[in-house]
Each structure stands twice: as structure tokens, then as C-alpha cells.
Symmetry: C2
Subunit: 451 residues, 2 copies
Amino acid sequence: MVKQARVLSSEAAKFVGEKILLKGWVRIRRDHGKLIFLDIRDRGGIIQVVVNPKVSEKAYKQALELKPEYVVSIIGKVNKRPENAVNKDIVSGTVELEATDIEILAKADVLPFDMGSEELNLELPTLLDHRALTLRHPKIQAIFKVQAVIIDAFREFFKKEGFFEFQAPSIAPAVAEGGAEVFQVDYFGHKAYLSQSPQLYKQIVMSAFERVFSVNKIFRAEPSVTTRHLAEVVSLDAEMGFIESWIEVKDMADAVVRFILERVEKECKYELKLHNATLPKIIAKTPVLSLKEAQEKIFKHSGRDVRGGKDLNPEDEREICSLIKEETGSDFVFVYGYPTKNKPFYVYPNPEEPEYNEGMDLLCRGIEWLSGGRRINDYNQLTKHVKEWNLDPKKISMFLEAFRYGVPPEGGFAFGAERMTMQMLELRNVREASMFPRDMERVDERLSNLK
Amino acid sequence: MVKQARVLSSEAAKFVGEKILLKGWVRIRRDHGKLIFLDIRDRGGIIQVVVNPKVSEKAYKQALELKPEYVVSIIGKVNKRPENAVNKDIVSGTVELEATDIEILAKADVLPFDMGSEELNLELPTLLDHRALTLRHPKIQAIFKVQAVIIDAFREFFKKEGFFEFQAPSIAPAVAEGGAEVFQVDYFGHKAYLSQSPQLYKQIVMSAFERVFSVNKIFRAEPSVTTRHLAEVVSLDAEMGFIESWIEVKDMADAVVRFILERVEKECKYELKLHNATLPKIIAKTPVLSLKEAQEKIFKHSGRDVRGGKDLNPEDEREICSLIKEETGSDFVFVYGYPTKNKPFYVYPNPEEPEYNEGMDLLCRGIEWLSGGRRINDYNQLTKHVKEWNLDPKKISMFLEAFRYGVPPEGGFAFGAERMTMQMLELRNVREASMFPRDMERVDERLSNLK
């Protein structure tokens, strides 16, 4: 075969009339009379290849060998398609390749299911059992392309805003807050744990760098299987010092959500279309409700009396989101002001009504996207809370040291990347939005299959 | 205090003659006769503030209260410094702030050691015991600013080259290769492990996306304390399909190293200067030696006969690097072609001399920066190796499935972010280049302090 530079399917339309070298996977082979049509998939997208024995008998013979997922190298001429044969659904849709040379780079076994149709009609467990293969399906790839854009946009936004990126640790020495839902690690004969949240670390790093963000892993050993929980999650964290009030933290969260939505909208048109998904609507001013106002609104609307409840439960979250959507058109709503005693020790109590705090959540389409708020920065107030929350100060001594030596008013928040992906693409289960989801039933393999 | 937008120290020089609002930490307070000088640190850098009782008696009184690491909000006028008082070492060095208003935002306890001098003269254990505080020192901050640029440059390079970013999992189901040096996790009553490497996952994801990269955590339970090993490491991974030979993999590794060095050189001048560090020299064509050639060279030079050795040991690595440096001026050298049997099962054997493989390392200044090479992509060859390496194919069934269904010729590599940081700044210990280093003696706390 002649040595020449490879051209991606997405670039082929620039070479009409020329011979190019294409490399990729056989997605579909269709035999029509004396012609063979191939859909070839590469990282640029999909392109149609025509193999005509009158053009090349050798290529045709080789094409007869091809099966789905064979890896091939093809030389051929780029031809413009007639108007009525243009395929608008693929990026190379105005052209096709007329093959003159086909080389098989790798063969594939017979597939366990059809990978060539537009939908991959598999039950989730099967889809995940065969993750190595199903990752090749365009609709599955679309999920992770959207996720990559979400994460990249998160970082881009905060770099522009002067935030410093740090790497949060995954192994943690002790569990300051919250109990059993943590994974234990045998650490050189000592007990250590997988981090449930980089919260205390990001506050430490903020105390030195002012504005910080981190893309990191968090681990939750929740012994329940729901459609929105994973044992290993990609957490997008930010923390900022020198605020005047929690409103600045909320506004920063609002701004990054807008930025992420804009980039996904711009860069993922094809992926959104594949999933027939509509991005959540964010209006000019995102609605903001206190917990009490939200509860009042639910009571007024449906008569369900959750007033005085310590938090919104999933049903409340769905109801308040749908009420806000009706009233304002917004898919997003901030809820703030939770009972101080029911939230972590570091959340800042509202000075005017200290039994409620300045913690906040951002809900979207019935699900929590983000959690955050203002934190306590005064060392004395913090140590008082540590006592009142019955925590062992020795277990968070590094965290407390930061605040002992001067920390400005501050706050921050965290997103879960998989949940955002799930909601943007209107997936039914968060596992679809994790490439290698970990839960109490699976770590690649189903745990029930293991001894 | 008047409401006005905050100005960072790094922007102050744009406001000569104007009143600005500055916020930050008191780094140093010096009393000179009737004047008080403050070095204020914010995320932009350091700026000098002069407090003159003749300008503001109130500000002066407040300044008398200030101690190191107090958090302050200062209003003052930006004055140009006389030529002979310009401080070239700080970004705001052409100006100083004449304070008219000072407000204390947070107080600090008396520091356990001096944080105001240029050097932080602490033993490493003390430095790490007080990480929450020592992170505020400019020389320590410089380390993590360089690290952030390294990681960001790594990502930028691969995005430009059409690589897809994915999130590698941290919890792994089984240990395919290599033995005891792995952390075990109690996973819902099952045994799981912390990932030692995303190797198999990145090959899976490559088999769907062609070109992939990941910034992820790897975990090594090596029961030894050296100056270059950590239990938790930030791994920078890349993998690429459709290569013709391992040379393309080497060239890609070479190119990303150049790109990272360029960005660090351009963006971290101040940080490099603080550490009095010279970046490693990369010449037009990075030298490449086979393992055999490297061993021959060592023998020729020093008479030390390591010919036939299965790998380079640390002494060999130092010697070959210093020989290459002398000969060519290059701080970098690629070494390739290791005995097939001594490397992981997936490394591609040289077809012309199958007892040696097409694995490679990049050494710099005596230390391995990168490890990688071409991998086996043929399913039959791979399963043959799995048998010969006495591995349990069930434990890597997801990985094998990828190759069962067609994978092009491919290769990749991985860097350790902390080692690169250490070497660029000429640090003595890799722990200095990890914000919260984990090793067999420490997880934040010294393990010997725990029950």
C-alpha cells in the first residue's frame, strides 16, 4: 500500500476528487447487487465507502471478507454524493469513498449483539457487562463526549476566573463526618478510608490559594441501589475566599452552570440529537427559594405538608422543580437555608437566624446538581461547632490548623459530573453516564459472579 | 468602609494615583520609626503597604494590631516607588500602597515558625505536619503552580492532537499483574483494590475512541520509603491507535514533553527563579538507545558490566543520563527494547527479535519520567501471552473483550505528575511535590501518632 497521511472521515469532504487513506472500524457492511457498501467509523465520525468490483476487483474480494468491527485501512477516491443521497446525520454525509485498496488491520469475532443499528437495544446490565464493546456505539460515545465537554468547561470557566487547580487526595486518614457509608482501606496495617468528599482539603487549599478547583474522585459506600447513586463519582469542586456573602457563591455556581450549558449546546449538537435530548432551560435570573419558602409552596400547591422538614426529599425536589418550571420556565432553582443542626459543622449559620444556615443546593429537573454554600471561617466559631457536633478535633487537626491562622470569609460548592451528564442527555440511570460504573452490584464484573 | 471592587496585588500598578481596595494576608509587618510596612499576600502575589500615621491615624492604630497571617482589607492610594526602591522580585514591585483604611477580616494565632522569610527552613516532616500553613509560603505555592501548569499543558497538548479525555476508575476488581503492592478495599463485603494503573482501562477506551488521555490517581502499596515513591500518585496517561510502529508513540511522548517544558518555561519564570531551578534541557533530537546499547555504553565508560541485565537499576539510570548529557547536552534519553518476559504481558514483542519488546522509558536527569511503548493488539497473540504469563483471563475479561472485537496497532505511555514537578524544580524529595503526600509513614497525620 502506498504510504500517505491518514485522513479522518470528518475531513474527507475537503478532498473531493482526490485519493485518500482512511482507517477505522467496519460499522456496517451492506451488499447491494454487485456493490458492497461499508459504514466506516473512526474518531472523526462515520463515512460511507462503496466497493465496486468494476473499480477494483481486489478491493471487492477483500471487502467480501469484512465483518462488523474489523479494523481496516482503505485507499479510495472521495466522490461527491448526488443531492438526493446526501446524509445529513453524519459529518461526512456529502461525500462517499470509492475504494481501490482495502487492508485488514485486525479481525473481530462475531459480535454478541447487533452494534450497527441506531439504537443499542440492550438492558443496562448487558450493556455494562459488555462495556468494552458497547463503548464503540455512537450513541454511547455521545454520552462520554458530552461528559468530557462538561468537565473541560468546568475547568475552563474556573481558570478564567483566577481559580487554582489542585489534586485532591483519594485516601483519607479518618472520617470526620458521617458514618458507615465509607470504604475502608487496609493501609500498611492501619485503617484508612476512601475520600467521601474533598471538602476539608479544598478549604485548606483555598486558605492558601484563595480560589481553587479540583476534578476528583469521591467514594460512597451507600448500601442501596438507586438510579442516581454510584459508589465512585467524578466530583467537580470549587471554593472561593474573600466573599461578602453566600450570594457570591450562588452567583458563581450559576455562572459556571451557564458556561457549561453553553459549551455543551455549541459543541455537542450531534450528540444531543442522537439522544433526542433538550438541554435544561436556564432563564435570565435563576429562581432562588429558602427551604421554608419551598416547603410553603409545596403545601400551597398540593396540600402535602412538608413544612418544618429538615430537607427536601426526592418527591419534594421533583415537585418544587415542576412548580418553578410552570411558574418561570426555569429548569433550575436554588434552595438555601437549611436547619443548621442537620448539616455539616462547617456550614455557616445565618447570623440573623442562626438555626438556619447559608448552605444551598441547585436543583434541576427534580434532581440535585450541586451542593454548597458559605462556610464558617472564624476559628472560634468553627471549634465551637466541632464540639457541638461531637466531632473529634484530632481527626481534623490539619483542617483546623488552616483556620487557626487566618482565613477570609469563604464558600464553595461541588457538582457530580455523572449526574449532570445524565440530566443533560435525559438518561434514565446514572450508570449510563459512568464509563465503568461502580456500585454494590458491580465493579466491571457483577459481584454476584465472583467468589 | 466604602464599597468598591477589590484589586489584586498583581494589578495594582495599573492604578497609580488612585485609591484601591486590597484584600489579603499579612505576610510580614516591619515597624520603621513612625512608619509600619506590611507585605500583603493575595492570589496575585505580594505588595508592600505603607502605613503612615500622618496619612491616617486610624489605619496606623489598626496596623499596630496586625500579626503574620492576619487577613485584612485595606483601602489605600497606589504610589509609584522611586527608581531605587523598585523591587524586581515581586510583580507589584514598581508601586506601593499608602493605607488610609485597614479592616481585620480574620485573626491568626501566633505562628509555630517563621513564615516571612524567603526560605522556609523546615525539615520535611515538620513541613508536612503543618501542611495547612506551609502551603501559604510563596516557595511552596510555586511548586503547585508549576504542577498545575504541567497537568494543564498535558491536557492541552492532547486535546489539540485529537485525544479524547476519559475518567479512569480508581476502584478495580482484581489485580491482573503484579502482586502484593496493592491496596485492598472492603467493597460491600467483597475484595476490591485501588488501581495501580489505568493501563487496561485506557486500552479499552482507546479501542473505542482511538486516541485517549486521562489525568487520574494510581495507588502503590510499596512497603518502602524512598525519595521518589508515593502511595498515591497523579498519573498522566495517553494511548493511541492506528500507529505504524512504536516510534510514533515515542515521538508523541517527546512532543508532549517539549510542549509541557515550553509552557512551564513561559508561565513559571517567577516560580523557577524562587527555586533557583533550571529546566531540563531538551535538544532538537532526543537521544534514543536500546537497553543493550545503554548497557554497552555503561560498560565502556565505567567498566561496570550490567550487560544482560533485565532492566536499568537506579544507578544505571543516573549513569546513562550523565553520559548522554556529556555527549549530547540532552537531559533526556529514551531507552527501549526490554526483555519481553520481564515486562507486562501486553507489551509488544519486536517481531524481528521477539525476546525483546517495544516498550520504552524516558529518563531525565537520572530518573524515569515516562513509561510506555507499543502494545499487542492482536487478540490471539494477546491470549497466548496471558497464558504464558500465567494470568487468569477471567480477571481481565473486559480488557480481553475489547481486543476480541478488533483493535488497531496501538501504543501509549504514562507520566507521574509529582516526579515531573520534582525534577523541574530540582526538589530533593517527591513528597515536596505532592500537596498531601501519602506514604507508609503518613496520611496527613504521621501513622505512628495514630492508635
